[in-house]
Symmetry: none
DNA sequence: GGAAATTTGTTCGTATGTATA
DNA sequence: TTATACATACGAACAAATTTC
């Protein structure tokens, strides 16, 4: 999947939207970690700061939770 | 302590004056780091650029010294 | 237990664009 | 035009937690 990063919105908002969509469609399943910050820097071709800004948005929304030294995990239905 | 940031002077000059005063009265002791740029953005309710402009003034005066990745340190008497 | 690699956390350095006075 | 101020974005250094060997 390609990401355009055009349009009027800030890049970090657009990246947050992409990740949000991947969480909703199951590409990034609950309880699992999303790709690391360096990996997302590569995929989107942006700096780590920008990736972190995007993740910050999702954490604020309660969609994800970041743990130092581990990664950023998708919040959601466990199993039941 | 609250800081008003009114008056005719530029905001960054006023912030520099506040920090300068805190160095003089010992609130920010020698050899120690003053609060980080993000922290001061929060305290004063200004952008990082403005905080950096204030710190630049103090660095120019020789009151402080900024080190990348670490912080801004108060110059001054060590112990003796 | 130690060393190295991975990953996130924090902080400063720099540049660009926009808006205001 | 210049000075001030904010938001955004990339780059780099340093720090801490985790994992793996």
């Amino acid at each position: 999947m390609s990401v355009d990063l055009l349009g009027p919105d800030p890049i970090y908002q657009q990246i947050a939207a992409v990740i949000r969509e991947r969480i909703r469609d199951g590409t990034y399943p609950p309880q699992r970690a999303i790709p690391s910050e360096p990996d997302m820097c590569e995929e989107f071709g942006v700096s780590r700061n920008t990736v972190r800004a995007a993740i910050h948005v999702l954490n604020e929304e309660g969609l994800t939770r970041t743990v130092r030294g581990k990664g950023t995990y998708v919040i959601g239905k466990s199993a039941g």
